[in-house]
């Protein structure tokens, strides 16, 4: 039996795993504590679209029974998790945040869902997201926005706002996200949590509802760098069901996180990307301040800080908003009212499709499908899609040149702290600018992390620190991230997430 005074929802996943192994707590107790927390705070936060209480408890009971019987179990067995609704889950509703998939029960598991089940982690439910992951605020969810636990009037980032808010509100210790242009890192930044976009191909996408196939990557989300690393190792690895899956071992990210926590960065060269640093203006003062303080900490641990320039990044946002809509317009053609999802019945199949897609898709999805249809159409293809693919080459060359001078690159994750819900909803371009610092990594396929660097003095809201590494070098993110985290949490007396205001608890 555990002591009743411990609030397990505040613990790290690593601590939960150790306590489970030591017999200090049961998985049923952990799951129940999180279900109770969800019941208490998720009304206003709205991080979850679907809760699977019975399924989570059933997994927990089986893990507890196996542990009692002396069965050898994976490290995170019994530790609960939330899964972004972009991943298909057999027997559990999956919508990708879209009304067009309302009520759909997938007949199969995504590879990552299967790996979570094989790791014996109880699945608490599915987390909210912008419709088909198109957005930076979760306001484009077909089921209503998620709210930032730090300030319920503000956005939790997007598209993975549900996965980030669930962590920040202590509704889950770990969640899964997907990052096409920043959808893991930007929500982590604005909720004071940790999120990693692995190298393109590092995590199988089989069963992930595709947004833009040359950009999408699934990744782990947690409240600490080590927790995120533990989940990364569960999710990662080769999968023959995904043609883009890298046939190579999962990087040793847990080992890197443990090494980094020793706070010795002697010999490490860290590059500050001038174009992403806010040096040219446009970044909130407190964001720049926390970024520069973090650089000082890294320097204090022995790292050498150099400035690098990536001039083509100026064109990255434009290239992204050509490539993403183009690929999305093709990927979303499958929502045709025939095999699954919504059907608005009309006289002919064509009229049925027209009516179904009009009713089932939200405005942002419609905007991007039309933009993509335009960019791919005859007469415009070379000017838009062809040019964007060339910009992609230039962005990659900039990264190659930068990484020739340093081991990792760093920047603020987002130019500002979280903005108010509704503030940018009618201005798509302003919304797109949220991802200005995260998009280049997706264009180049390289891994990136966001971790908390403090709160901005002017508004008390979280600021994220982004680390980027060369392709296949995901472990570097964890080493540098864990070093910075250890230094910061020593000063704060614990993780930044513990400083979030207490949420009002429903009876």
């Amino acid at each position: 039996m555990s002591e009743t005074t411990i609030d397990w929802t505040r613990a790290t996943a690593a601590r939960m795993a150790d306590a489970l192994a030591a017999g200090e707590v049961t998985s049923v107790e952990l799951v129940q504590a999180h279900l109770d927390r969800i019941a208490a705070v998720d009304g206003p936060v709205h991080a979850f679209l679907h809760i699977d209480a019975e399924g989570a408890l059933e997994t927990a009971r089986a893990v507890d029974a196996d542990r009692a019987a002396g069965v050898e179990l994976p490290r995170l067995a019994g530790v609960p998790i939330g899964i972004k609704d972009v991943l298909v889950t057999k027997g559990l509703p999956t919508t990708a945040g879209s009304r067009i998939l309302e009520g759909w029960i997938p007949p199969y598991d995504a590879t990552v869902t299967r790996r979570v089940r094989e790791a014996r982690m109880p699945i608490l439910g599915k987390t909210n997201m912008d419709e088909f992951a198109m957005g930076s605020s979760t306001e484009h969810s077909g089921y209503g926005p998620t709210r930032n636990p730090w300030d319920l009037d503000r956005i939790p980032g997007g598209s993975g706002g549900g996965s980030a808010a669930a962590l920040a509100a202590f509704e889950a210790p770990l969640t899964i996200g997907s990052d096409t242009g920043g959808s893991i890192r930007q929500p982590a930044s604005v909720t004071a949590t940790v999120g990693v976009k692995p190298t393109y191909g590092g995590v199988s996408r089989f069963g992930a509802i595709a947004l833009a196939s040359s950009l999408d990557q699934l990744g782990p989300c947690g409240r600490t760098v080590l927790d995120t690393a533990l989940l990364h190792e569960v999710m990662g690895g080769h999968d023959e069901m995904d043609a883009t899956s890298l046939d190579e071992p999962v990087p040793a990210v847990v080992e890197a996180a443990l090494e980094g926590a020793r706070q010795d960065l002697t010999g490490v060269k860290i590059g500050v990307v001038r174009e992403l640093s806010g040096a040219d203006g446009g970044y909130q003062a407190g964001v720049t301040q926390r970024f520069e303080e973090s650089l000082e900490r890294l320097r204090g641990m022995g790292a050498e800080i150099v400035e690098v320039s990536c001039p083509s990044f100026e064109y990255a946002l434009a290239a992204y908003y050509v490539i993403l809509p183009s690929e999305a317009s093709s990927n979303l053609a499958k929502f045709d009212s025939v095999r699954f999802g919504l059907r608005v019945e009309k006289a002919t199949v064509e009229k049925t499709m027209l009516a179904t897609r009009a009713e089932g898709f939200g405005d942002e999805v419609k905007r991007r499908i039309i933009l993509g249809t335009y960019a791919l159409s005859a007469g415009y293809y070379d000017a838009y899609y062809g040019s964007a693919q060339k910009v992609r080459t230039l962005v990659q060359r900039d990264f190659d040149a930068a990484f020739a001078q340093c081991d990792v690159l760093v920047s603020p994750t987002t130019p500002t702290t979280p903005f108010k819900i509704g503030e940018r909803i009618d201005d798509p371009l302003a919304m797109y600018l949220n991802d200005i610092a995260t998009i280049p990594a997706n264009l180049a396929g390289i891994p990136g992390m966001s971790l908390p660097s403090g709160v901005a003095p002017e508004d008390g809201l979280p600021v994220g620190f982004q680390i980027l590494a060369p392709a296949h070098e995901d472990a570097r993110l964890y080493r540098i991230g864990a070093a910075l985290e250890a230094s910061l949490t020593a000063e704060w007396g614990g993780p930044l997430s513990a400083q979030a205001p207490e949420l009002e608890v429903a009876e």
């Binding site: 007949p107 023959e240 050509v322 027209l354 905007r367 838009y384 990659q396 798509p428 396929g445």
Partner: protein, 99 residues
């Protein structure tokens, strides 16, 4: 490159099989024109000497033995269909009345 007109949006929406009311077109056309103008800057640096990149990591096609493997059953595949009949997806009539 010229900006996107309302009539262009109507044509593209039809191509993409999305019904649009006049109100939809009024709302989306202006926003789309602004976005199209903003992204057109990709052409500024796309010189003829720059090769295009389609995928971020170089990859080759993968192959496997041509053998039967377990897959979805017919019942599973049809379970979420809006309408099914005789083990198939059922759809409204394919041709319009004028055909």
């Amino acid at each position: 490159m010229s900006s996107l007109e309302r009539s262009d949006v109507a044509r593209l929406a039809a191509l993409a099989r999305i019904d649009m009311t006049d109100a939809d077109l009024d709302r989306l056309s202006g926003q789309l024109a602004v976005i199209v103008d903003a992204v057109a800057k990709v052409a500024e640096v796309a010189g003829e000497d720059v090769p295009a990149t389609s995928h971020p990591i170089p990859m080759a096609n993968i192959h496997r033995e041509d053998e039967v493997r377990p897959s979805l059953s017919q019942d599973d595949a049809l379970a979420a269909a809006p309408e099914a009949e005789d083990g198939r997806f059922r759809v409204p009539q394919i041709l319009g009345e004028e055909a």
